[in-house]
């Protein structure tokens, strides 16, 4: 009898897998309810990616609506997102700040000089501490932060032109009016 049970193991394992896949189907891997929405953006002070003598802190941005985009040179999806960000930055509607996450300084700088730089500046978060404070799960992620320094929205995954026009632009307009 014991011998027979062993042969049932693959089937049991597969049944579990199917269960997970079925739940997975109902989820959108790009959408995450963030506990940070509506809370003040966690404070930090980091050196800037391109210039380690300068620092950046979210309080520098008080009074402005701005985006914090988490990116890394090793992140394949960021490369997909990059042209969209470049385009968006050209429209000059909102300052985009980068958070260069768990990356090397050289790799980060190289990537930006290679692909173009949509960011006013990038904060350099080599060990990912700030990423943890912001609850970063995957890269890329983008936070929308209002004039009072409160996180208003968070976009997980690649920003597409549709997200820019349908989600970001209306939200930024509304926040700017407030």
């Amino acid at each position: 009898m014991k011998r027979v049970l062993v042969f049932l193991l693959p089937l049991v394992g597969f049944a579990l897998l199917i269960g997970f896949l079925a739940v997975g189907l109902k989820r959108d891997p790009r959408e995450i309810p963030s506990p940070f929405i509506g809370k003040p953006a966690p404070a930090f002070t980091l050196t800037q990616l391109q210039d380690q003598n300068k620092t950046f802190s979210p309080k520098d941005m008080l009074g402005k609506v701005w985006l914090l985009n988490v990116w890394a040179s090793w992140c394949v999806s960021c490369r997909e997102e990059h042209p969209v960000l470049l385009d968006f930055a050209k429209q000059n509607v909102v300052p985009i700040m980068g958070l260069n996450y768990k990356d090397g300084r050289k790799e980060g700088v190289d990537t930006l000089s290679q692909m173009g730089d949509p960011y006013q500046l990038s904060a350099f978060d080599a060990d990912g501490r700030v990423g943890i404070d912001y609850g970063v799960y995957g890269v890329p992620e983008t936070f929308v932060i209002d004039k009072q320094g409160v996180i208003r929205d968070k976009i997980i995954g690649v920003i597409t032109p549709e997200i820019v026009t349908q989600k970001l632009l209306p939200l930024i307009k509304e926040l700017n009016r407030a």
Binding site: L8, G24, P29, D110, M115, G138
Partner: protein
């Protein structure tokens, strides 16, 4: 009109698939030989109808019929002809039809080259393949019909994604699908054997060449994808542990375990249950890959546009196919005997260790790929798993495999004296050590390079020494060619594939450990250098291609003052999707690649340029091709061909005897 014919042809193919599966399988149990005999003609019919449908779809792409939705969303009238043909499999619907076409090709091939099989077996094998085909044809017809019309017709198409406008798009998907779908043959043989309760060495011998050919295609397909990413994405990487890459890599790992396990089952009758399970897993992972790419449960650069209805359909299909076959396995496998005994140190035991390691490696890749999904389903949050995880867990698992590759062939079946094997390998171990020391002295900082050189030397030297030992045993005066011919091709297949792994390992570690790059702002006339190579930016011109405009830089490369190459990287902007693309220039060489990509133009008229020196990249590609060639050699072994020919002769003579005088 033509698309409707294609659509109709798919429906007829579905009818054929129904006839090919239900009647022959039922017939195989009720001993109805007429029903069983239906399998072959139905497989031929299905092949004809699916090919015709595929031809119709290609036609729609070639003549720019933008009233067909899949053409309008994946092609454009300015696209060159060969890319319009390749655009046929550029979207979800068309690539699914390609999947089905590959299945029809494999089924038809099995029906042709299976004269030596008993009627029940072939009826069941083709029947199972027919069942798989039914699932996919229904999926195509009900959720993703490539022939769906778009009314009113689009004025022009949305174009093929510029990243896909490349020679790689013409070769990579068909190769990969040939491999994926090819595992359906091993799977069907396994299911047929479980249905009939006959798991013997004959079953393993029939499955082996098919599995080898599928594995060879999968190897080439993955290689093509990687090769393509290397030159097309413009930043010089070649493997990213992306979810979809992993989806093709998992069946490859299990398939590699399977071809080794099949060898044991054929030669010694052992590992039967294990081999059957591997055959089921290999194909299940191929199906799972299809699910992952098309359902949207994971994010990936490769993923097709998603639709939850499609995801649900494939999930149910997966549950039926894989769940069904694993249930059958749980029911039948306990009754299968264990086969020949073997001692702790023997060819069997080394192959068993190889199998366990490969399967564990596949499991770690599986875990890393699906971990984000598991956590999300359990409401534990969302994460992404990247290259650091895979490199940390995958590489250590591969090290003992690399060690064993060299040892395995020296170990005899059943039982081998350890001391003897150690004695035969001691000089090789010493030579390996010397190579490692030399590597250590020339590339001191990189432990990875030292390991890579050592493993490459270990595998190549041991493999070469095994060949020498084999060839020495022949009467004096035998010519070298005769000595080579005296060994079976399956032996040469093994030797070649193993040597390929050694070459591959050297390429991977040398590139990772010693590549150098330089990102600089350059104006025309500037020079920069990387390694001992000097790059001079000679010229910048605007050029236009059929569907893009580009800035083309001309670089002259010199090494110690003498000219090596002229390289012309481009920055292209594709006119339809307004998408910029970096077209890197690569100067390939035996021991190094030079790689230039143009970045963004800066304000002062200079360009960001990345120049890279990548040693031994060609060895990665060479290794892959050699590995695949090993698979081809093994599949073309004489004994598979002999059996087929002998049977054909028997049939011919039987016919001659029965013919009226």
């Amino acid at each position: 009109m033509i698309p409707e014919l294609g659509n109709f042809s798919v429906m007829l193919a579905l009818c054929m698939a129904l006839a090919q599966s239900i009647l022959p399988i039922t017939g195989s149990f009720t001993r109805n030989s007429r029903w069983m005999a239906l399998a072959r003609p139905a497989a031929a019919g299905q092949f004809v109808f699916v090919s015709f449908a595929f031809g119709c779809l290609i036609y729609a792409f070639v003549v720019n019929d933008f009233s067909v939705a899949s053409v309008a969303s994946n092609s454009n009238s300015t696209l060159p002809l060969y890319y319009r043909v390749a655009a046929t499999w550029g979207g979800h619907e068309g690539s699914l039809l390609l999947w089905i076409l590959m299945l029809a090709v494999w089924t038809f091939a099995v029906s042709l080259f299976s004269r030596q099989l008993p009627d029940e077996t072939i009826a069941r094998v083709l029947g199972v393949m027919g069942l798989i085909s039914i699932g996919f044809l229904c999926f195509l017809l009900f959720t993703s019909n490539p022939f769906d019309r778009l009314l009113p017709a689009a004025a022009d198409g949305q174009d093929l994604n510029p990243l896909l406008q490349d020679f790689g798009m013409i070769v990579h998907p068909p190769m990969l699908y040939m491999g994926y779908v090819g595992f359906s043959v091993a799977f069907s043989f396994a299911i047929a054997a479980l249905l009939g309760g006959q798991l013997d060495s004959a079953w393993a011998r029939w499955s082996r060449p098919w599995t080898l050919v599928a594995w060879m295609f999968l190897t080439l397909g993955i290689f093509m994808g990687s090769f393509w990413a290397y030159y097309e994405l413009g930043w010089g990487g070649w493997w990213f542990w992306d979810a979809v890459e992993n989806a093709s890599f998992m069946p490859w790992l299990v398939g590699t375990a399977l071809i080794h396990s099949l060898a044991v089952t054929e030669k010694r009758g052992s590992f039967k249950n294990w081999t059957v399970l591997l055959a089921i897993i290999a194909f299940s992972l191929s199906l799972l890959g299809t699910f992952l790419v098309r359902s949207g449960v994971l994010t990936s650069v490769h993923a097709f546009a998603t639709d939850p209805r499609r995801g649900l359909y494939i999930l149910i299909f997966l549950a039926i196919v894989i769940g069904g076959s694993l249930s059958l396995y749980a029911w039948r496998a306990p009754k299968v005997g264990l086969g020949g005994k073997f001692s702790l140190f023997s060819r069997e035991s080394t192959l068993l260790v190889n199998n366990v390691l490969l399967l564990t490696a596949a499991a770690t890749v599986f875990l890393g790929t699906l971990y984000p999904l598991f956590l999300d389903a359990l409401n534990l949050g969302k994460i992404s798993v990247g290259p650091p995880y895979f490199e940390t867990v995958f590489v250590p698992l591969m090290l003992p495999v690399l060690l064993l590759i060299a040892v395995g062939p020296f170990v005899r079946w059943k039982s081998a004296p350890f001391a003897d094997v150690a004695k035969r390998l001691r000089w090789i171990a010493l030579a390996t050590l010397i190579f490692a020391v030399i590597a250590w002295m020339s590339f001191a900082p990189s432990a990875m390079v030292v390991m890579g050189v050592a493993f490459c030397a270990w595998i190549l030297l041991a493999t070469a020494s095994h060949v020498l030992e084999r060839l020495r045993h022949a009467p004096a005066g035998t010519s070298l060619w005769r000595r080579i011919r005296s060994q079976p091709r399956s032996y040469w297949g093994m030797i070649v594939a193993h040597a390929g792994v050694g070459i591959f390992v050297l390429g991977v570690t040398m590139v990772k450990g010693t590549e150098t790059s330089n990102d600089v702002n350059m104006r025309v006339g500037d020079t920069t250098s990387v390694g001992e190579y000097v790059f001079r930016f000679n010229d910048l011109q605007q050029v236009s291609g059929p569907n893009y405009t580009a800035m083309r830089g001309t670089f002259e490369v010199t090494h110690n003052g003498s000219k090596v190459a002229t390289m012309t990287p481009e920055k292209r902007v594709f006119t339809v999707q307004r998408m910029p693309m970096t077209d890197a220039a690569i100067d390939r060489g035996f021991a190094r690649d030079l790689y230039i990509s143009l970045g963004e133009p800066a304000e002062n008229g200079s360009w960001v340029v990345r120049v890279q020196h990548k040693p031994f990249v060609s060895w990665i590609w060479g290794g892959c091709i050699i590995i695949a060639f090993g698979g081809f050699l093994a599949a073309s072994d004489r004994r598979y061909r002999l059996k087929a020919r002998k049977r054909a002769q028997d049939v011919a003579s039987a016919v001659a005897i029965n013919a009226p005088a």
